[in-house]
Symmetry: C2
Subunit: 152 residues, 2 copies
Amino acid sequence: MESRIDRIKKQLHGASYKLTPQREATVLVLLEHEEDHLSAEDVFLLVKEKAPEIGLATVYRTLELLTDLKVVDKINFGDGVSRYDLRQEGAAHFHHHLICIECGTVDEIQEDLLGDVEKIVESRFEFAIKDHWLTFHGICKRCKSDVDEGEK
Amino acid sequence: MESRIDRIKKQLHGASYKLTPQREATVLVLLEHEEDHLSAEDVFLLVKEKAPEIGLATVYRTLELLTDLKVVDKINFGDGVSRYDLRQEGAAHFHHHLICIECGTVDEIQEDLLGDVEKIVESRFEFAIKDHWLTFHGICKRCKSDVDEGEK
DNA sequence: CTTTCTGCAAACCTTTTGCATCCAT
DNA sequence: ATGGATGCAAAAGGTTTGCAGAAAG
């Protein structure tokens, strides 16, 4: 059976990029931290555990390459750092994010909730949508119940 | 009649900030470029025309202050620069953006299209939404018709 | 073999900060 | 008068780039 990493490798290969150990280690780290929103520095430190000789510049170059291939999405939550988020396999659009302003946690919504909104935008503004970025800021489930506890 | 700039001034005053000429000039520039998405540098150059002695650091400090007061929203379209966008007076939520991947134009949608989506998010994920950021990438009306022209 | 990739360090850019001076209130 | 605000220059991030050597295909 073909694994996810194999398919990503094939994608690299197909675009005539070389399969170096550094690139493989970087992809592996991203797969192992699929739920997280790692910065380039985060990825660098994690890849270093597998390939200690890797340089930060290589990580940046690999992440840019994976962004071009749409394997990852590059996002910016406004804290001055770019973060790299693995795209769901075959997903047409980028998933949504919930950022808690209390605890800072970032949760993901994989389900696409924008179908109807996109129909409106496409027709009303004659805009052909290729992708979207949707982020909500608010209080997450966990922090809300902390408040409830405090009020008891 | 009270003008928009007067109300912003009052807001500054109310939060016990001083009304300096530099701050006034910055607010003025933002009002004059309401449709644009200016970076700090852009604002700096425009403010310099009114107040040539202003420093870039002051512009940054003023923009941060206006962001705290929710007069402007700080956004990042992923090009490594923060941009500052005047919020509609009294708007509860930040407006949406349409970025054209052909010509780079950024259009705004002032109307809030996320009402239904937010209800779903609030109930299904028990997340109390305070604000949202929604951006679409695609081909704008103008570029689409350029293509049509080309095909004729 | 050839071309691409890597690591290192330097360069770059945007944003922030320290500090002496200035100025609204 | 006096505490906050400014301008300047330096510092501080994060990211990109040039280059010589290494290695994948």
